[in-house]
Symmetry: C2
Subunit: 287 residues, 2 copies
DNA sequence: AGACCTTACGGCCGGCGTAACAATA
DNA sequence: TATTGTTACGCCGGCCGTAAGGTCT
């Protein structure tokens, strides 16, 4: 296979050469560029010569001890920057694409139903990663159609015909009242009855937030971002808060609290896992 | 300088690697790609492995005896094509830019004044190339402002104030009539008198064409593209044609023809070399 | 003297080719 | 058997670094 060995005209221009050119353009001096790239100055000298040969056009104005880009060189360096940027984007794009093929993005209207489904995915779809977030319901729906999410979890059953829907779990909301609260011995409460009472609330609870603020417009909600802080506050304060059957099951009943069911129909929701009908097969292991 | 020698994580991805990937994508098989690039198959095998390492993402689905791009690979190959295209455009752009810096584009309204000016450029501006073309006058003016042309040659003196103008040579038009033509003994002729006579004409004569067709609307002009064919036809036919003092000076009088001056004022033009005022200094060697 | 670029020289590593092997059709 | 991909192995060239030289501030 030596019959082509001596093709001297080869376009040997490589990205590393351009990187050196770009570095020289940035640093203004070969020495500085060499240091930046952890190379020796003579290496840079030779690469620049090589580039000039490959472009077959002068790129520099050479004084005895000074090297500068001429107009050609400035243009070349500028374009080299662009090309390097695009080369870097190339691998990033491919990596991101690969990642997207291996991760399922789930959008949920509330935190609790995420727990079950992400566990299921980890168990059923080995090698699949999941990324999940809690968002407003309309954002979830548009995100589903734009493939931002492969699966979304809604607190109601949507009617669109291009969606594949599967009923998931239910969640029922309760008040967790201090034992000496005036309603502590009630068997059930409407949110309206509690309206006006200040309550502890965990942030990032999705659509529940809207439920609370609409049904209890006169209450002030002391929002905690951190789960740990929230739990601490429950222990140390006498403010009522919300719990659900799921949190009760997972974390147990907060000490010194009485659990009172909420009677509003909005306090009991059934979650539905939803994906595009066209992705049904691909996602059936989850749904 | 060995303190960084062993950085194995280097982004060694080079254009040649991507070229091999692109070739594989085009050819469908390593062997074919290897042949196309004048490389051996094992080389391709190893490059593909290297690329997979550099992307840190699988790019292929490997059977025992078959290598195919997976989805990642297809994306990578597609983007590789694009990047290679852009790399090629990079050098072409720089080369074109360099060329544009070393060539003066001249637009002229007629062929004759070009002769003198291009000779002057070749003599006065060593290392400068010239490209010239003949165009309509309005195209010349817009082209000058858009830097399509550095210098244009007009048959009149423009009035714009952002232009630098230098009077160039003059050209006077004559009829070259067969010796037995009815006007052969005239001392001068108006074009109107010749209107209706069929004439030989050289194509690509710029604004002269418009002069002829407006002043002699009833004549038919037998247009020749090739100078050689035109000269042959003059010898062998009895059709009248145009000559100018410049062609007479350069090529002499056609045999068997009588030269009769044209009396219309349009038959004597003074050419003006025009450039943008802002380029005056840069072009003063020419102007 | 210090900063910079260039040239000369030598070593080394990485990429390439050959050869041999394995698997498929 | 012919084609294709992979592995093993050795060579060779190109790239890099060190050293030395020249020029300018």
């Amino acid at each position: 296979m030596y019959w082509n060995s001596k093709k001297k005209e080869a376009d040997k221009m490589e990205l590393f050469d351009l990187e050196q050119l770009a570095a020289f353009s940035d640093c203004g001096t070969l020495s500085a560029a060499a240091e930046k790239l952890h190379l020796s100055q003579p290496t840079l000298t030779k690469t620049m010569k090589r580039l000039e040969e490959e472009f077959r056009v002068p790129l520099f104005v050479r004084s005895k001890n000074k090297l500068e880009l001429n107009e050609n060189g400035k243009l070349a360096a500028e374009r080299a920057h662009k090309l390097l940027q695009e080369a870097s984007e190339l691998v990033n794009t491919v990596r991101a694409f690969d990642r997207s093929r291996h991760t399922i993005s789930i959008g949920a209207c509330a935190p609790m139903p995420l727990l079950g489904i992400t566990q299921n995915i980890a168990r059923l779809c080995k090698g699949m990663a999941t990324s999940s977030e809690i968002q407003d319901i309309d954002i979830l729906l548009t995100g589903l159609r734009e493939n931002v999410y492969q699966v979304i979890i809604l607190p109601y059953k949507p009617q669109e015909h291009d969606l594949y829907i599967k009923e998931a779990e239910t969640e029922s909301l309760f008040f967790a009242l201090p034992e000496n609260h005036r309603f502590a011995d009630k068997k059930g409460l409407y949110m309206e009855e509690m309206d006006g009472e200040n309550m502890l609330l965990l942030s990032n609870i999705g659509f529940w937030h809207k439920v609370h603020t609409t049904k209890m417009p006169h209450s002030r909600f002391l929002v905690q971002t951190e789960r740990f802080d929230f739990d601490e506050l429950i222990q140390s304060s006498i403010l009522p808060c919300f719990v659900s059957d799921i949190t009760l099951r997972l974390a147990g009943k907060p000490k010194n609290r009485v659990i009172v069911p909420i009677l509003d129909k909005e306090a009991v929701v059934t979650y539905y896992s939803v994906c595009l009908l066209q992705n049904k097969e691909q996602l059936k292991c989850i749904m």
